[in-house]
Amino acid sequence: MTHPSTAPSEPGGRAPVVQVRAVTVAFGGLLALRGIDLAIARGERLAVIGPNGAGKSTLFNVIAGDVTPTSGSVVIKGVECVHRPSRYRPRLGVARTYQKARALAGLTVRENIYLALAGLRGRHRALWRSAADRRMSDEAAEVARRVWLAEQLDTTAGELAHGQQRQLELGMAIATGPDVLLLDEPASGLSRGERERLVELLESFGEELNLLLVEHDMDVAFRIAQRVVVMADGEQITAGTPAQVRADPHVHRIYLGTEAPA
């Protein structure tokens, strides 16, 4: 059963913030995505789940601009983005994290977040430090506090523990106050306690943030998302609320290899 979600009014009658239409990605002979459609409605927290090799990350990277699809279109806030490089996304208010934390290893936590701010505000070609730099540096400290890294402000990112690197990754993504946040498996490799903090943080953002979450961990995805899209073999299998998806026997068969609990 597929749910083509091409209608811009779906769901809730509001124009989607991100609209993916008929996107196909071929890596050589391998079809990673087979004409998939996806829409993130305004104020929606959407999770995409699926087994390994389902095409989740490819879809994510198409939206983030790191993979150019073979065919199809990606419209973000009314702007066709398929052929625009990833560096164009922040200007549209889109920020992302990486599955494998990609903080800038040689720079401190403060400098990492500073760069997340400077990328959008254009202080990055200045050959001297100004009051604006100092303000952004203070802002970076504030963001670090929000992701529980206040103590590590002057630690280089390469020296952080794995979980802290994920926190920094998230800090860099939320620093500019994006309204579309793309999270690529934010819970992977985190301890139970770190997962709790992650969920707590994501829940604290409220309505204004549009969230796309690609997650292998169903538990985290179901707790954060309002709507869940299930993928397998580059296609959408089903979509619905967490409760609907949890109860869907089809999902259980494909995703877990078992029948739904009675």
Partner: protein, 356 residues
């Protein structure tokens, strides 16, 4: 930053060193000052641009010596009034200086833009290709290089006496050293370091990575050009053979001897290089063991080999390692990851920040 913060051991040592260098013409022979030290400062300045690109940008460039040479050729063509060689434009010397620097920076911008999508070994190879092409351009277009080079190039009157050239070298070196270090803390420098660490991440943060690399390469080219002007004034001549592939490697060798991730190392490496080439022949019995002038490159090669085996961070790396042994009170943590991420651990110290 208070005066007390500025009073660190490194700053005091640095100031003392500059003071000694300022007084050097009164302390040392004219030969040592005008030959050994002036050459050291010129080569150090050029090698510092290699360090700048390698340390902040992760780009190991072999094109710096070409840019060094372009500045020299452009000055010679623009400033010379008469003579059998070159364009003999006969401009005012300072107009020629401006012309040389603008052309060098423009060349660096174009070459940098072409190389801006490559990194690592590919960048090294591409900049080596630039050096080779540059050599042939100057060797074959004799209108701008004169058959056999431009000779009798006069320096501006302001820099007439040789000792003034020494002071010019010292002044530009101090400026470049402080400037390059300060740039590391600015938006430009931090962005460049971010590009070094993860260009894909930087792109997703909204940065134009190739453009930023290009601008860094242009800045380095401009400084290398300033070094090239000093060089042509010091030599009084320039010929295509002086920017051939052999001399091109000298800067990289100097940077490796000093430590490719340290700005101090650029001048330290240049000093060692010039010392070997100047004084090796004077060592007693040196020719008896087969080390004649023709084999000085072998000696330099052995030094580079030893340094790369003993300390990938060059002489400054060795100095850094010896420091805790000399001062038992300092924290003796593990040695900074040798040769891995350049100078990442020193950032904290340089920023003068304290851990909370």
């Amino acid at each position: 930053m208070t005066a007390r913060d500025l009073l660190t051991r490194n700053n005091v040592l640095g100031t003392a060193l500059v003071a000694v260098l300022l007084l050097l013409p009164n302390l040392a022979t004219a030969y040592f000052v005008n030959f050994v030290m002036t050459q050291t400062l010129i080569l150090g300045l050029a090698a510092a641009t290699v360090v700048f690109l390698a340390r902040y940008g992760g780009m190991t460039s072999l094109a710096q010596f070409l840019l060094f040479g372009i500045a020299g050729f452009m000055f010679g063509n623009a400033a010379q009034e008469t003579g059998a060689r070159g364009l003999n434009l006969g401009w005012h010397p300072w107009a020629a200086v401006a012309f040389a620097l603008v052309v060098t920076a423009a060349a660096a911008f174009v070459l940098g833009a072409l190389a801006s999508r490559t990194t690592g070994l590919y960048f090294l190879m591409l900049t080596m290709v630039y050096a080779v092409i540059g050599y042939y351009v100057f060797a074959q277009i004799v209108e701008i290089s004169g058959p056999g080079g431009l000779t009798s190039i006069q320096r501006p009157d302001l820099l007439g006496p040789p000792v003034r050239l020494y002071y010019a070298g010292l002044g530009l070196s101090v400026l470049a050293y402080l400037g390059f270090r300060a740039v590391g803390r600015t938006g430009f420098g931090l962005t460049l370091q971010g590009v070094r660490d993860d260009p894909v991440r930087m792109a997703s943060l909204g940065y134009n990575v190739p453009l930023h690399r290009t601008l860094a390469f242009t800045l380095a080219g401009f400084v290398a050009g300033a070094g090239g002007l000093l060089n042509v004034w010091w030599n009084g001549q320039i010929d295509p053979a002086s920017i051939a592939i052999g001399p091109t490697l000298i800067l990289l060798i100097i940077a490796v001897i000093g430590g490719i991730s340290s700005f101090e190392g650029a001048w330290l490496g240049a000093f060692v290089y010039v010392l070997v080439f100047t004084y090796l022949r004077d060592l007693p019995l040196i020719d008896r063991i087969g080390i004649t002038e023709a084999r000085f490159n072998t000696v330099i090669g052995v030094i580079v080999l030893l340094i790369m085996m003993l300390s990938p961070e060059g002489l400054t790396g060795i100095a850094r390692r010896l420091r805790p042994a000399l001062r038992p009170r300092t924290r003796t943590g593990p040695d900074p990851a040798a040769g891995q991420a350049p100078a990442t651990r020193t950032t904290e110290k340089e920023l003068g920040v304290t851990r909370s």
